[in-house]
Subunit: 154 residues, 2 copies
């Protein structure tokens, strides 16, 4: 997998969070993941299938960052990760993937999206099981870390 598949997810995430939550995340260097594992307290995951490939995307948030995004997007400030927060993470997962899908379609790479799944649980880990390349990319903010991971099968 090449950078051209990663940048659309990166720019889509920055765009979604700055537009919807007025929040600027700072992207860190992407890693071709070997041992490193995405970790978070609430994650959205989604499957992608195209004519040439299939894959998966995930975005994992620290609880503190997820609750701050919730406050900025919807005005609510829940103490914990409740159903409103997981709904929002599902929506963000859809929006980020949908934005990347549009950019990639313009470049001739088509895929369709499955429906998102949201995982909640303190410090869980996410592993994309494929023989293809996986790229993990952390984002920092003053409220905590978000990590995206993108993989496409060979």
């Amino acid at each position: 997998m090449e950078a051209k598949f990663v940048n659309p997810f990166l720019s889509s995430l920055l765009n979604v969070l700055s537009t919807m939550a007025q929040l600027e995340l700072k992207p860190q260097a992407p890693r071709l993941k070997k041992d490193e594992v995405a970790r978070g307290d609430v994650s959205g995951v989604i499957g992608m299938i195209g004519p040439m490939t299939k894959g998966s995307f995930s975005i994992s948030f620290d609880k503190s960052l997820a609750l701050e995004v919730m406050h900025r997007m919807l005005g609510e400030r829940p103490k914990d990760i409740n159903d409103d927060v997981t709904d929002m993470i599902g929506e963000i997962t859809n929006m980020v993937t949908g934005g990347a899908k549009r950019i990639l379609a313009d470049q001739g790479y088509e895929f369709n999206m499955a429906t998102p799944i949201v995982v909640s649980g303190p410090s869980h880990t996410i592993q994309h099981k494929t023989d293809g390349a996986k790229i993990l990319m952390p984002f920092t903010s003053e409220y905590g870390i978000a990590t995206i991971e993108i993989c496409f099968a060979k």
Copy 2:
């Protein structure tokens, strides 16, 4: 969503675990899930996309049951959920969904599978975010509980 979409996943799971691990799970009544949430220590999730619909499937295991399946399938008995266990859960997710896909294709319902994602973390919860019906189905065994959830968007 109707029973005809659920039974293929049910029979495929029972078949995979009895064939690969000589383990008989006892299916409990399926629930049209409202408040109930699938919970486990290790889960496999996968996206599905067909010409008429899209959806997602998940299977969540108690740690004790996952380790017992590992022992029976591969002869190893790790103390904890390591990468071998998550690989196995990814494979089971693929096999169960692949089995259901073949049964449903014979009935005229085609879909393609994305790549599986495995989540680890004590007592995490899984929520499928779709406006379509979701069906949750627990399975009991002397080693712990497994729960599958199937959803297809409207």
